[in-house]
C-alpha cells in the first residue's frame, strides 16, 4: 500500500508539472488568469459602483469576494478544456500504454488548475487594493481567507475536471462550466440578497456561492462570521468528494 501511494504521488507530481508548463506556455491561460480579473475588478468598481446600493458598505469592499469567485470559475475553464483535450486527442490512450497511477491524471490537472486560480485571486486582490479596497482583516483572518480560497479553488477545479471528463469537445467543456460564471451574479456577490425578487432571493440564499462569498466578505471586512464559514466548507467538501468520485469512475471506465 505504501509503495502504491508513493507511485500515485510521484505520477501526480509529474502530471502536475506537465499541466503547469502547458498553462504557462499558453498565453490565453495567463490572460484569463490575470488581465480579465483585472478588468472585471476595474469595470465593476468604476462603472457600476456609482449606481449600486449596498447599504453601508463601500462598493468595492462589497464586491471583491464576488469577483474572486467569478474569476475562479473563469480560470477553471482551462482545466476542463485541458482534460477534454487529453481525453479526446489520444493522450489518455498513451497513458494506457504506461504504468501510470489512474488518479495521477486527475490530481495533476486539479493541482495545475488550483495554481491558475491562485494567480487569478492574487491579481484581483492586488487590483482591488489599488482601486480602493480596504480590508480590515487581521493575521488570523487572512489565514482563514487563504484557506477558504484554496478550498474553493480545489472544489471549482474538481468540478471543471469532471466537466472535462464528461464533455466530448473542448467547446462543450467550456459551455458546461457556464453556471460557474453566472452563479456569482445570482448570489450575495454583487448585491445584498434581500434586495432581490423573492424567487431569485430564495435561490441566492440556497446556492453554494452565497456562503462562500459571505464568509470571504466577513473575514476581509472584520464582520461577524456566523455559520456561513461552516456552510461554505461543507459545500466545498461535498462538491469536491462528489466531483472527484464521479471523475475517477468516468476515467476508469474510459480507460478500460
Amino acid at each position: 500500500m505504501k509503495k502504491f501511494n508513493i507511485n500515485i504521488l510521484f505520477d501526480a507530481w509529474v502530471m502536475f508539472k506537465r499541466c503547469l508548463i502547458i498553462s504557462l506556455r499558453n498565453p490565453e491561460t495567463l490572460l484569463t488568469a490575470t488581465i480579465i480579473p483585472f478588468f472585471l475588478m476595474f469595470l465593476f468598481s468604476t462603472v457600476f459602483g456609482s449606481i449600486s446600493d449596498v447599504g453601508d458598505f463601500n462598493y468595492i469592499d462589497f464586491i471583491v469576494p464576488g469577483i474572486i469567485l467569478q474569476s475562479i470559475g473563469q480560470a477553471s475553464q482551462f482545466s476542463a478544456m485541458n482534460v477534454t483535450t487529453d481525453m479526446t486527442k489520444g493522450i489518455i490512450d498513451r497513458f494506457r500504454c504506461m504504468s501510470i497511477s489512474k488518479s495521477a491524471v486527475l490530481i495533476g490537472h486539479t493541482g495545475a488548475g488550483m495554481i491558475r486560480g491562485v494567480i487569478s485571486n492574487t491579481v484581483i486582490i492586488l487590483t482591488a487594493l489599488i482601486l480602493g479596497f480596504r480590508p480590515q482583516a487581521g493575521f488570523i483572518d487572512w489565514l482563514l481567507v487563504i484557506s477558504l480560497l484554496l478550498s474553493i479553488n480545489i472544489t471549482v477545479t474538481l468540478i471543471a475536471v469532471l466537466c472535462g471528463m464528461i464533455s466530448k469537445s473542448v467547446e462543450g467543456a467550456s459551455g458546461l462550466l457556464m453556471p460557474l460564471f453566472i452563479l456569482p451574479f445570482m448570489s450575495s456577490g454583487f448585491a445584498p440578497v434581500d434586495t432581490m425578487p423573492s424567487g431569485i432571493r430564495w435561490f441566492a440564499a440556497m446556492q453554494p456561492m452565497t456562503p462562500m462569498i459571505d464568509s470571504l466578505r466577513a473575514l476581509t471586512l472584520g464582520l461577524p462570521l456566523g455559520n456561513s464559514i461552516w456552510l461554505a466548507l461543507a459545500w466545498c467538501v461535498v462538491l469536491s468528494i462528489v466531483s472527484f468520485t464521479v471523475s475517477v469512475r468516468i476515467y476508469n471506465r474510459k480507460l478500460s
Binding site: 510521484f10 505520477d11 509529474v14 508539472k17 506537465r18 508548463i21 502547458i22 506556455r25 499558453n26 486527442k89 489520444g90 493522450i91 490512450d93 498513451r94 494506457r96 500504454c97 504506461m98 504504468s99 501510470i100
Partner: protein, 235 residues
Amino acid sequence: MDSLIQVRNLCIDFGEKSVLNHVSLEVSEGEIIGLLGANGAGKTTLLKLLSGLLEPTEGQITVSSHNPWNERDKVLKHLGILIETPVFYEHLTAYENLSIHLEYMDVKADIDKILSLVGLDDAKSKQVSKFFLGMKQRLAIARCISHKPKMLLLDEPINGLDPVAIKDIRELFINIKKNGTTIILSSHILSEILQTAESIVIISNGNLQQLGSIDTLKEQHRDEIENYLIERMRG
C-alpha cells in the same frame, strides 16, 4: 531461445465480427518479427492485445510470463509501444516530452543521445506542435526506446518518414535487436519488412500464419518472394 511471447488460440470479436480467430504465436527473445497483412486484417488489434490495451474474447496471451490484460503494470514497464498515430504534449518540446515519459517510467536516460539516434538532435528544443508527421514519428520511436524496454511493439513505424530516415530507423532497429530487444513491427510495406525483419507473420481473414525465417523464404522463393507473400496475405 526462451519464448518471450506466447499466444494460444486467441480470439477477439468486435460485435459480431471475428477479427482474430484462434490464432497462436510464439516469439523468442531477441527476434525481429515482421507482421504483415492487408489494411483491416488485424495487425493493430494483435499489437493492442499483446500490450493489454484490448481484452481477448478467448484464448491466452503471456508476455514475459505475465498476462498483459490482468497484469498490465508488470508487462508495460518492459514494453515500448507505438500504435496508431503518435500523440504528444504539443506545447512541450521534444526534450520535455521524453523527459516526462522517462519520469513516468522511473528510468534515467541520456535524452540527447536518444534524440540523436532518431535524428532529432537539432529539434530537441522545438515544441512538438511545430513538428511535421515524420518528426513526430521519429519522436515516437525515440519515446519507445528511451526506457530500454525488452520488447518493442511498433505499428507502421516508418509511416511519414522520408527514404533517408527510413534507412536510419531500419539500422536503429537492427542495432537495438543486437542488444537483445525483441521487436514486432507491423507494416503493409513489404519491402521494408523484408529488409528489417528476420521472420514473418501474416494475418489474413482472421487467421495467423507464422511463416518463419525470411532468409529461408528467400532461398525457397528467390525473386518471387514478394508475390508469394502477397498471395499469402490474400488468404
